[in-house]
Structure formats: structure tokens, C-alpha cells
């Protein structure tokens, strides 16, 4: 039965045709897809490939429908710096001759080896929004104003997020925090928080074993309450992070779950970020 359903799904994917003039956008991750939809409106048809890295095998192998979506795309948006290497591979297999590729990492000047969770940097999405206005206008110059208005709307929605960041920064700048994975890293920087144990976080991100000294330092930062808050990736559960969460709770340190991709309950990137900032504020007030 599931097999038949999968076949039917595959058939409908191919049967679905785009309206004339509609721009096909493929976003490797759903948060980029959301911005593309917001800027392009009805002019674009957006397909987001990765919604949850833990429920989704696309990180490792690429299905035929994903490869087809990228081959058919007019615009491809992906994060880059090795976060989604399968996109690089698919881009090497041909595609539309006038395809535009937006690598967000290159757009904001992130280099390989940097923390790959660049969408948590509050400067990233507005930069992407501007880039999308340029790219979409090249395809449909008559609609330039429409795209600019949409980008303006998005930035207006970003304003309360930035205000919130500035407010929290004013109260909690310099507070030491730690995390099991570097997911929240850029936002923590924006908030002026001092992030401890970065090397440990990279090991967990890459599914390698953190070293003994790193693990000891991490546990020490929780037990001695040097770290005032522990962030973890709520889309990943593994024994090491469960253990650290337990130590944090025993030491009375607030434990805050953040997500790597945009959960479906949030309609937009800004809603998602606001919810996480709210959780940080609640945790910080509880810690004092």
C-alpha cells in the first residue's frame, strides 16, 4: 500500500505543471524557501527539499524527484559551506541553461570551516531578500516594484526581531552560555552572549566523539554554573546530549531547545525567531 502511495506521489509530481511564466524555485532548506515565497508571491512555485534533517534522508542520498526538481529549477537556493554538499553534486549534472544559483554562504561571505548554521545570523535573511529581488527582477522586470514591496514587508516583519535582539543584548550582554550543537551560534553572537565549548559542539554536529578534555570542560561549565544556559538541538536526540541536559537540570541551569530547520507550526522565519528569542528571555529571567 505504501509502495502504491509512493508511486502515485511520484506520478503526481511529474503531472504537476507550472503556469506559463511562473518561476520555479528550489530551496535546499525550508527557511530559504519561505523567504523566496514571501518575495516572489504568486509569480513563483517554491519547492523546499529539507524540512527536518533527522526525518529526511536527503542529507545523504538524493532521490530521483529531488534531482529532477533541481534540474527543472529556474532558481536554486542553498546554504553552502558543506551544509548541503548534495546540492553541489546535483548542480554539476546539468540543468536549465539560464538557471540562477544562490549560495547563501557566498552571499554573506561565510567561508568553509565557519559555523554552517548561517540562517541564525539576523543579517542573513534580509541580504537574501535583496538578492531575490534582483534575481526575480531580471526574469520579470515589469514586476520589480512588486518584489521590492514584498522585500520591504519582510524587512518590516524583521524589525521586531531586531528590536528584540537589541533589547535582550542590552540586558544580557556578556552572559556565558553553552550549547550541545552550534545551531544557535550566530544568534548567540548577535545577542552578545559568550558561547562556551564551541569545539565540543562541532564534534556533536559531525557525529564524531568529543574528546575527554572537551567533555570534562563542558560538564564543569554546567556543574560550576559558569554557563548560565544550555542550548540543545531539539531535532536531535542522542545519549551525550541527554546526559548534558540532565546535568544542566540538576545544576538548575535553564535548558533551551532550538531547532535546526523551521518547524511547521511557525508560518514564517520571523515567527520562528521570535519564539526562540522569547524562550531565551524566559530562561534568562529564570536564571537570575
Amino acid at each position: 500500500m505504501r509502495f502504491l502511495l509512493a508511486m502515485a506521489a511520484a506520478l503526481t509530481v511529474v503531472a504537476g505543471t507550472t503556469r506559463a511564466g511562473e518561476v520555479r524555485i528550489v530551496a535546499a532548506e525550508n527557511f530559504y524557501g519561505g523567504i523566496a515565497q514571501a518575495i516572489g508571491g504568486n509569480d513563483v512555485e517554491v519547492t523546499s527539499i529539507l524540512s527536518n534533517p533527522n526525518q529526511d534522508p536527503h542529507e545523504f542520498t538524493t532521490s530521483a524527484s529531488t534531482a529532477k526538481a533541481v534540474a527543472d529549477a529556474d532558481i536554486v537556493i542553498y546554504s553552502g559551506i558543506d551544509y548541503d554538499p548534495w546540492v553541489d553534486k546535483l548542480l554539476g549534472t546539468g540543468g536549465k541553461p539560464d538557471r540562477t544559483v544562490i549560495c547563501v554562504a557566498s552571499l554573506i561571505g561565510a567561508k568553509p570551516g565557519d559555523n554552517p548554521h548561517i540562517w541564525y545570523d539576523p543579517r542573513t535573511m534580509p541580504t537574501l531578500a535583496d538578492k531575490l529581488v534582483t534575481v526575480l527582477t531580471q526574469r520579470n522586470p515589469a514586476k520589480q516594484f512588486f518584489y521590492q514591496v514584498n522585500a520591504g514587508e519582510f524587512k518590516k516583519a524583521m524589525d521586531p526581531v531586531l528590536v528584540n535582539i537589541a533589547r535582550l543584548r542590552a540586558s544580557f550582554q556578556g552572559t556565558a552560555v553553552t550549547a550541545t550543537e552550534p545551531v544557535f551560534g550566530y544568534m548567540a553572537d548577535a545577542l552578545g552572549l559568550k558561547m562556551l565549548n564551541y569545539d565540543f559542539q562541532v564534534k556533536i554536529m559531525n557525529d564524531t566523539e568529543p574528546g575527554a578534555a572537551e567533555t570534562a570542560a563542558f560538564e564543569q561549565s554546567l556543574r560550576s554554573k559558569t554557563a548560565k544556559m544550555l542550548f540543545y538541538n531539539s531535532q536531535v536526540t542522542d545519549p551525550t546530549t541527554e546526559r548534558l541536559k540532565g546535568i544542566a537540570r540538576d545544576s538548575g541551569i535553564p535548558v533551551i531547545g532550538v531547532t535546526e530547520t523551521q518547524p511547521p507550526e511557525y508560518k514564517s522565519y520571523t515567527d520562528w525567531m521570535q519564539a526562540e528569542l522569547k524562550a531565551v528571555e524566559k530562561g534568562m529571567k529564570g536564571a537570575d
Binding site: 511520484a10 534531482a67 554552517p116 559531525n206
Partner: protein
């Protein structure tokens, strides 16, 4: 469904997957024949996993993953070849080499500061992401390996089946074993580009194993092995297009069912 297949066949990524899959299947089927005859199945398995260490090293030093993998697999293959038959068939010695290599791979990933998506990707392969340049690399490497194998295949077969007699006739067993292990290392590295390190076995062992069960003669066995390999890869890719399931799933299932039926049939016939 036919329409869907035709739609897919018009895409470059499907055609490049078919071409790359065919290359890997042909080379795997031929080399695999000698692997089964020489009884070095575990060595083949170990070499493919050592490729993962190469991919991890390439990630750390920012090199081309294929080069990194070749460096490690050819190095390990040559070592096994020089160490001779006793090591090649010693599960213990190979197991030790395999585990230290994987340990080294863990260290490379540990030292890496960025995101190690590429090294993980090599475990499962990415047949729909084969670029034209990658295809060219594969073509050159598989032609070289097959040419090499063609040069010494008769001697190798002789030495594999009757090593003592071959040695008495003045053949260098170590030389042959070294040459073969290097070719094997290149083949498993190519095959892992397609089906991934974890599933290299399907392309290198399965077709040859089934062919040897059915045919006694060398040429017919090789021919059957190659046709089985190529058919399974094509069927796997096309089924993956129709169902959207992973290609590797289909290839492994096709081989398992074929192997099961052949084994059953042979036993039933007695």
C-alpha cells in the same frame, strides 16, 4: 508509468547515472569474479570501508574526495598484496587494518572544524549527482584497471586456482597479488562513488557470486557476471525513478532476489 520513465530519461542526471552505473557495474563484475575465485571477499569489503577514511582525510585537507579515497584504498590494497595470500585471507589481520583505518577516519573528522557532510555522503553514494567531470574520471580509471587486468588475467586465474603449480612455473605470486589488489582498490573506490561505501559489496561480489554458481567456464562466467551487474544497475536506477525510493535499495534487492532464486534452483536440481 512509461511516460514517467521517458520524462526521466530526458534528464542529464538520469543519463549520467546510467553511464556511471554501467561503468561501475562492468568493472565490479569483472574484478569481483577474481575476488570470489581468489576468496578475498573480506579484503574487498575492508578496502571499500578504508575508502571512508580517505574521504574523511580529503574533507580535512580540502582535497578531491576521489583522490583521497584512492590514496588510502590503493595504499591499503598494495600493502595487503605485498603481505601475500596469508594476510589477504586472514580475517583477523584484515579486521585489524580495517579498524585502525576507521579509527583514523574518526580522528580526521574529529580534527575537522567545518561541517563534515561530504564524508558522510560517501557512505551511501550519490548516483544522481554524478557530474560530467566525475564521469570522465571514472571512465579513465576503469579503462586503466581493465587494461591492467587484461594484461595479467590469465596468469592471475592460473595462480588463483593452482598457486603451487603457478609458482613452480616461475610466476611471481606476490607480484600478481599486488597488481590485483591495486586494481581491486581502484574498483571498490569507483563503485563506492555510485552505491556508497556501505553497499560496494552489491556491485563487486553479488554478480560474480551468482555467475560462478551458474557457469564453470571463465569467459561465460565473466560475461554473465557483467550482464547481471549492468542489468541490476539499470533496473535499479529506472525503478528508483518510478518509485522515488533510493537506487541502492533497488540494486541490493534485485541482487538478493536473484541470488536467492539461483541458490534455490541449484539446490533443487541437486
Amino acid at each position: 508509468m512509461i511516460n514517467l520513465l521517458l520524462t526521466y530519461l530526458s534528464y542529464d542526471f538520469v543519463r549520467e547515472a546510467l553511464a556511471a552505473g554501467t561503468l561501475a557495474a562492468i568493472l565490479g563484475a569483472i574484478v569481483g569474479y577474481f575476488v570470489v575465485v581468489r576468496n578475498v571477499v573480506f579484503a574487498a569489503h575492508a578496502l571499500s570501508h578504508i575508502g571512508y577514511t580517505g574521504a574523511a582525510a580529503a574533507t580535512l585537507f580540502g582535497l578531491n574526495p576521489l583522490l583521497g579515497m584512492l590514496f588510502f584504498t590503493v595504499g591499503a590494497g598494495a600493502t595487503m598484496g605485498v603481505a601475500g595470500d596469508r594476510l589477504q585471507r586472514s580475517d583477523m589481520a584484515i579486521g585489524m587494518v580495517l579498524s585502525v583505518s576507521l579509527g583514523l577516519g574518526t580522528l580526521f573528522l574529529w580534527l575537522h572544524q567545518g561541517f563534515a557532510g561530504n564524508a558522510m555522503a560517501i557512505l551511501f553514494g550519490n548516483i544522481f549527482g554524478v557530474s560530467t567531470e566525475q564521469l570522465a574520471e571514472m571512465l579513465v580509471l576503469s579503462l586503466l584497471s581493465m587494461a591492467g587486468l587484461a594484461l595479467f588475467s590469465r596468469k592471475l586465474l592460473f595462480a588463483s586456482i593452482q598457486p603451487r603449480l603457478a609458482e613452480a612455473r616461475g610466476l611471481s605470486l606476490t607480484g600478481l597479488s599486488l597488481a590485483f589488489m591495486v586494481v581491486l582498490a581502484i574498483s571498490v573506490t569507483l563503485a563506492s562513488q555510485i552505491v556508497g561505501v556501505l553497499l560496494v559489496f552489491t556491485l563487486v561480489i553479488a554478480p560474480a557470486g551468482i555467475a560462478l554458481r551458474l557457469c564453470g567456464s571463465f569467459w561465460r562466467g565473466i560475461l554473465l557476471s557483467v550482464s547481471l551487474g549492468v542489468t541490476a544497475v539499470w533496473a535499479g536506477i529506472l525503478l528508483a525513478c518510478v518509485t522515488d525510493f533510493p537506487v541502492t535499495f533497488w540494486i541490493t534487492v534485485i541482487f538478493f532476489v536473484t541470488y536467492g532464486s539461483v541458490e534455490g534452483w541449484c539446490r533443487w536440481r541437486g
